[in-house]
Structure formats: C-alpha cells, structure tokens
Symmetry: C2
Subunit: 240 residues, 2 copies
C-alpha cells in the first residue's frame, strides 16, 4: 500500500521579504506525517497571479493533494482565489452561502459587510467551502487543491477540518538513535546498513550540543515491526 | 535600475517530515532584502536526485541567483553535489584543493579523513569553492547556483561569504504603519491608495494582540523619498 502524497504552497511577499517567518509549512508537515500523507514538496511564491497559478498547476498535477496558505483576505493584495480559479480555468464570483456566513459573522459584531469584506465570498465555481471557525471567511477545496488562510491560527483551524475529511495512509513512523560520534565516522557503516533496508528511509543529522558532537540517525517507514527490527540492529551496530 | 532576483532551494527529508524546522530561508530572505536582491521563490524538496536536479534547473533558468541548503555532508543521503552536477551535465569528482582543506582540518583534530569524509571534497567541474569557516567542508558555486550546508551555523557563515562577492541592487526599503482598524475596514481606501503608487509594493497584515485587532500596512520600494512621501499620505489617510 502506498501513501498519498501532498505539496504545500505558501503565498505571500511578506515571507519572501523576510518580514514574516512561515510557520504553516512546519505545522502541516507534522500533521501529514501523522496521517500517513507524504509531504513531497513545499514552495513559497509572491503575491503574483501568474506565479500562484503556475505553482498551483505544477503541484496539483504532480501530487495527490495541494495545500495553500495566504492571500484570501479582503485587501487588494489578496489574489489567491482569483489565481486558483485562473489555474483551473473556471469562473469565480461571490457565492451565496459564503456571503451568508460573512453576513452572519459581521452582523453579530455590528460591522458592515462592505465591498472589501465581500471579496472574501468570491469562490471559484465547483469548489467546496472550508470552514473558518475563527473569523468566518471560508477557504475552499477545488479539485485536489485546498486553499486556506495565512494567519496561523486560522490556517490551523482550516487544516484540521480538511484533514478530517481526507483518507490518509499507514502512519509514517520514525525512530531515531543518538550516537555520540561524528557523522563522518559512522557514514560508511550507516550507508551499508541503509542499503539492506531499501523500504526504510534513513537520514543522519549532526548535532553539537554543549560542546558534544554527535549524530542523530533517523529511520522512517510504515511497518512498525520492520522498523523495530532495524532499530535493534542499528543499536547493536552503534552501541551507546 | 532593476534589482537582481534570487530563489532559495532547501533540500532535505527532515524538513518535509516535520522533524526539523527550516530556518535558513528566513535568514537568507532578510539578508537579500538588505542587499537589494529580490527573493522571488523558495522551494523545499526531498533527498531525491531527480527532484533536486529538476528544481535546480527550473530555478537557475528563472532567476539571477539560486541558493541551496542541505545535503552536502558525508552520509549516503547527502546527494546534493551529485544532483547539481547532473543538473548542469558536468562531471564530478574529488577535487584536490577541497581535499586539502579537509585533510588540514581533520589532521589538526587527529581525525582520519576516511572515504565518507572524502565525499565532501566531491565538487562538480567548473565550480568555485565556498569557504566553510566552521567545519572546513566547502560549499561551491556553479554558474548562478550557490550550494551550501543545511546546518544553520554553517549555512549562515557560507552565505556571508557568498553575499560579499555578489553585486546587489538598491536596498529594498520598507516602512510600515500600524492601524487599529480591521483589514476589511481599510481595504477599500488602501487599494485606491496603492493604485496611485504602482512603483511601490504594498501589503496589509492583520494582527490580534492582547485582544486588539488591527492591521499593519507595509510599503516597499527602493526610492527613499518616494517611500517617505507615500508614508506621509498614508498617515494622513489613516490617522492614529
């Protein structure tokens, strides 16, 4: 059984200028791994209609799911919904159920649903809405593309809703062994070891903590017994 | 005068699995902005030769500079140098000056330059070495692609060296105005304002701090007088 695949697309000049640090990719990565969906690629693009549409089309053709964050607010630089509609070649306009959600939310707060806020009800034809329990303005799923807000608290709430409806795969398990030897010392035997387990992904990550150099060896796979067996051999190969 | 452009390519399964949080992109983004180089795109790909080579070729064709991080250590999952050589269609092998740097470094520490460590002297033909003042093993520049380590302290040291040798552009300046009104309130007048300054990039970023909702308006450009004039008008438009 193979695991579903996914890509993340972060949209926003503020990430590329260094003003804001993207935290959504890391959040999504952890959740996908738990659910057995392999995150294969992540991209950050500017608030540029062509760049967004090109990335959406490249990623939705290559992977099972695409998650986007950013660019669905009320201001003129929020162009993600239009760019995604263009990528799919479908019309976009204010949708009644999305408008109703905004109206209810703003009426409760005594705030006017003006033209700018109404832009957040623009949804490409054929999309399904993604709930926004934080601030009402919905995301949407069009084909295999899940379009969500960039504000981390809203992104996280939307992702939780989307993932609840997706079929995952066998959880992607990982085990790690901390070895107090340099990466260059263990690279030879570790490579030979890895070659015996083509079904497990293996990586090595050097560390330097409080003057102690060493390497974390990480094994990843979906079969828990296979992973435990490999770990037992690895511990024998590099005894503590 | 136009500013040079750049892309970042992060290489590593550990980022995509959620095990490690990428910090190199944010670090690079801030430095490039200071130097007037526009970061146009960032990508994260897995430790996969084809994925790395395809991304390198897409990015080096599209932008003036490509910066990569990760995959140049001594272990079997460190395949960036070979993938970059493949992307350029050039041979790769152990290079004498790179080997000499490693030998001097390890001899000082009484550590054997074994076959695994010697892999870090594999450099594509035609590349220039990038100094590694932390742990000796060099990065390299091939064409417009700068290949660096993933460990943040080493990445940062290498980037400093590379940027010292690059021609930047007019610094990309930014000014921001904090407005204690919701994004949806100000979106209309802000869009009209932005349309009057096509040479400035403008973004709006909602915040919610200690129960206060508001929006940070950010203006970016290279002409300081133009930026100051726009800021003065913006402050008049949204008085504190």
């Amino acid at each position: 059984m193979t695991n579903p695949t996914a890509a993340m697309l972060v949209i926003g000049d503020e990430i590329l200028s260094g003003r804001t640090r993207d935290t959504n990719t890391h959040h999504l990565a952890g959740l996908l791994t738990e659910r057995g969906i392999r995150l294969m690629e992540a991209r950050v693009v500017a608030d540029d209609a062509r760049a967004i549409a090109d990335a959406v089309n490249a990623l939705r053709g290559a992977w099972d799911h695409v998650f986007t964050s950013g660019g669905i607010g009320p201001t003129h630089d929020d162009i993600t919904a239009d760019a995604v509609a263009a990528a799919f070649g479908v019309p976009i306009g204010v949708r009644e159920d999305a408008r109703a959600r905004l109206e209810a939310h703003y009426t409760r707060q005594g705030i006017d649903l003006n033209a700018a806020r109404l832009r957040m009800a623009r949804i490409p034809d054929g999309a399904a809405l993604i709930d926004n329990p934080v601030s009402a303005a919905p995301g949407f799923t069009l084909g295999n593309v899940h379009v969500m807000a960039g504000v981390p608290s809203i992104f996280q709430a939307m992702v939780a809703g989307v993932l609840a409806g997706l079929t995952g795969g066998a959880p992607l398990l990982s085990r790690s062994l901390r070895v107090e030897r340099g990466e260059g010392d263990i690279a030879g035997p570790f490579a030979a070891f890895a070659a015996e387990y083509p079904d497990l992904a293996m990586g090595s990550y050097p560390f330097n903590q409080a003057g102690r150099f060493g390497t974390n060896l990480v094994l990843r796979g979906t079969d828990p017994r296979r992973l435990e067996a490999a770990m037992a051999r690895l511990e024998a190969l590099f005894p503590g």
